[in-house]
């Protein structure tokens, strides 16, 4: 009806439409300045609001990043302190163990060297006596042969030959003795070599360990200084720790689920199979509670052993109290494991009973079980006993998971805040440009009056007007302006 009315202001609908378009364009043209202002104000306000929000989010992100960095460095510093402390303890232990042996080694080495020196001196080659009888032979040879010189010489020769033979025998004996001494030196040399090799090995081990300590100390210094490289390394380490510990926890969750299956059914025999707490069966909750208590005991045991450090109160306990706690938690774990083994056995008995009843209700003979049933029973009992102890070790990945979770959550929050800031900036810019676009779109149907306006503004000044301006007497204000 209103549309018909609009087209009915003249007898020709087309003419009516044209009139309305002209009127609309005129109204839009007249309201153009105000509309542009309104569009600019609205888009500018939204854009500025978004920009302020982006700044605020960026500021929060920077603060969070700084906080994350501090937390990461603090965690890294603590972890490194633990490592360095442990390394020093190992070095101290090595030094104590090996250097305690050093006097013994030194004595053994000195004894060996003394013995070698003694043998060495004993093995010195003794030169044969100088030939003292040579002059006697010369004197006798100068005697006249008639005076029996030849006989004397032949006697001397015999004596000499005999003496030579004796001397050679003595020399051979002495050489043999020296060789024997030299031979006996060989094991002592080997002993010395072995002792020195042992010392060398231990010193090498110590040096390697000290090199490790040096490396850890350098990393520690970098962390204390808050270097970017250290932060980057710690961050990536945290991510790796997070995923690895999450994987191990997932495996542990599977173990806990199997444990739950083993004990939930027989629990119904103890607490009844029909009572509920909320929407959960009491038997299921009881089984779950047992598993949770086992995990808690495992945590306390690990804390008492100082393997994990989730509870500073336990770590700070006196050694005597801590040892008591170890015994108590271990005893409780042992009892719970025994209970679980019993429940696992009960489960097998119940299962057989149920199968037998089902067989009777199906109209068959009751099942008597097979001869290999004891294998599954034993396996279930074994699992029931072992799984609680296996769950004790959940404490280690749990601690790592909790510590690395802080870093991972920090990184995720940081990334989310950064993304929000980016989106806000993009929207802010978008709204600014949207305002400009809306202005242009507003002007689009007004192209005819705008074109006319432009033409009007660019028209050359009329000659009559110029002449009139020139012939007009100068006003007093104009003259004052020129004078100044």
């Amino acid at each position: 009806m209103p549309t018909n009315f609009l087209f009915a202001i003249t007898p020709w609908p087309a003419l009516s439409a044209i009139i309305w378009v002209v009127v609309l364009i005129a109204v839009l043209y007249l309201a153009r300045h105000t509309a542009h202002q309104a569009i600019r104000t609205a888009s500018g306000a939204i854009s500025r609001g978004l920009r302020i929000a982006a700044h605020s989010v960026t500021h929060a992100q920077l603060r969070l990043a700084e906080r994350n960095r501090e937390v990461l460095l603090a965690a890294g510093r603590e972890a490194k302190e633990r490592i360095v402390e442990r390394e020093f303890m190992r070095v101290g232990e090595t030094v104590r163990k090996d250097l305690a042996n050093y006097p013994h080694l030194h004595r053994a080495l000195s004894e060996s060297i003394t013995q070698i020196e003694k043998d060495h001196q004993g093995a010195v080659d003794v030169p044969p006596d100088p030939p003292g009888w040579v002059k006697a032979v010369e004197t006798v040879s100068k005697l006249d042969a008639k005076n029996g010189g030849n006989d004397v010489l032949s006697d001397i020769h015999k004596s000499v030959v005999k003496a030579h033979k004796e001397a050679m025998d003595a020399y051979r004996d002495a050489s043999s003795e020296r060789h024997e001494l030299l031979r006996s030196m060989m094991p002592r040399w080997r002993d010395v070599q072995e002792i020195l090799a042992t010392v060398d090995k231990k010193v090498e081990g110590l040096l390697t360990r000290l090199a490790g300590v040096d490396r850890h100390m350098q990393e520690y210094e970098a962390i204390v200084k808050g270097e970017d490289k250290a932060v980057s390394v710690l961050s990536s380490s945290s991510l790796v720790h997070f995923f690895v510990s999450a994987m191990v926890l997932f495996v542990a969750l599977g173990g806990a689920a199997i444990n739950f299956t083993l004990i939930a059914r027989p629990m119904a025999e103890m607490v009844g199979g029909t009572s509920f707490i909320g929407v959960f069966k009491t038997a299921d909750i009881a089984a779950l509670v047992i598993i949770m208590v086992e995990i808690s005991m495992g945590l306390f045991l690990m804390e008492s052993l100082r393997i994990t450090r989730l509870f500073p109160v336990i770590s700070a306990l006196p050694d005597k109290m801590r040892r008591r706690m170890i015994y108590i938690t271990f005893t409780i774990l042992l009892l719970l494991a025994s209970v679980e083994a019993g429940l696992a056995y009960m489960r097998e008995v119940l299962l057989q009973d149920e199968l037998s009843t089902s067989a009777i209700l199906r109209g068959g003979e009751p099942e008597t079980g097979n001869q290999f049933m004891w294998i599954t029973t034993a396996a279930q009992m074994g699992m029931g006993f072992i799984l609680p102890f296996a769950l004790v070790f959940v404490a280690i990945p749990l601690e790592t998971f909790i510590h690395s979770l802080r870093t991972v959550l920090g990184l995720i929050s940081n990334a989310v805040l950064r993304s929000i800031a980016l989106v806000l900036r993009v929207f802010s810019s978008g709204f600014r440009h949207l305002g400009t676009l809306t202005e242009r779109l507003y002007d689009l149907p007004l192209f005819v009056p705008l074109w006319l306006e432009t033409r009007w503004a660019q028209r050359p000044p009329r000659p009559e007007a110029e002449e009139a301006a020139l012939s007009r007497p100068a006003r007093e204000e104009d003259l004052r302006e020129v004078a100044s």
């Binding site: 059914r265 119904a268 199979g273 037998s356 009843t357 009777i360 209700l361 109209g363």
Partner: protein, 212 residues
């Protein structure tokens, strides 16, 4: 500390409900022992054993016969509320099955069929047990035949009950006029639903899965 106490109270309130919700199942099975239906009792035994296998600890189950006057405890062949311990419940189920087998082997045919009396007895039994779900199974041709003097023209309170007619056999007269069979079923459906109960018919005994 105050906050902790308040939190504990809220948690306790969430865990403990004002009135404990019964989650157990109550089943009452009526066996028609009239002359026209007695031949079907062997099938009934299978249904009873199947029902026993489906019931859980703390459920209640009773099997009663429909004869001339069914509104009496004497008609109950076997009844049990199973123990909460699964092992004890299994033992009860075995004893129950033995009782039913014994009855099936030595049951006599009754002259009349008082279905309404049996239903009333079933309602009383299950109401007394306060079970969460109440189901009455009727193993009968649903043809009520009352002896003179028995008054059964009243409404049985079926509110909250599910009545399932099993193996409703067709009588010879139904073959001449099937409308009688349909009218019979409609009558019972109307009787049950008028009192707030649910009624259904299951003739294929291999499809009892959704009944319990």
């Amino acid at each position: 500390m105050k906050r902790l106490v308040v939190l504990s109270c809220v948690l306790l309130a969430a865990c403990s409900q004002s009135a404990p919700v019964a989650r157990n199942n109550g089943v009452y099975l009526l066996l028609d022992t009239s002359g026209t239906y007695r031949a079907e009792l062997n099938k009934a035994q299978d249904v009873i054993l199947y029902t026993l296998s489906k019931l859980e600890p703390a459920d209640s189950f009773a099997v009663a016969r429909i004869d001339t006057g069914s509104f009496t405890e004497k008609n109950i062949i076997a009844k049990a509320t199973f123990d909460e311990r699964p092992s004890a419940a299994n033992a009860q189920k075995r004893v129950f099955a033995e009782k039913v087998k014994d009855f099936i082997s030595r049951s006599n045919a009754s002259q009349y069929t008082d279905i309404t009396g049996g239903l009333l007895q079933a309602v009383e039994f299950l109401n007394e047990k306060h079970t969460g779900r109440k189901t009455i199974l009727i193993f009968s041709d649903m043809d009520q035949d009352l002896q003179k003097g028995y008054v059964r023209d009243f409404q049985v309170p079926f509110k909250g009950f599910q009545v399932v007619a099993l193996n409703v056999t067709k009588l010879r007269k139904d073959n001449y006029d099937p409308r009688e069979y349909l009218a019979r079923l409609d009558h019972w459906k109307e009787e049950v639903e008028k009192s707030g109960g649910q009624f259904r018919v299951v003739n294929d005994l291999d499809r009892l899965d959704g009944v319990l």
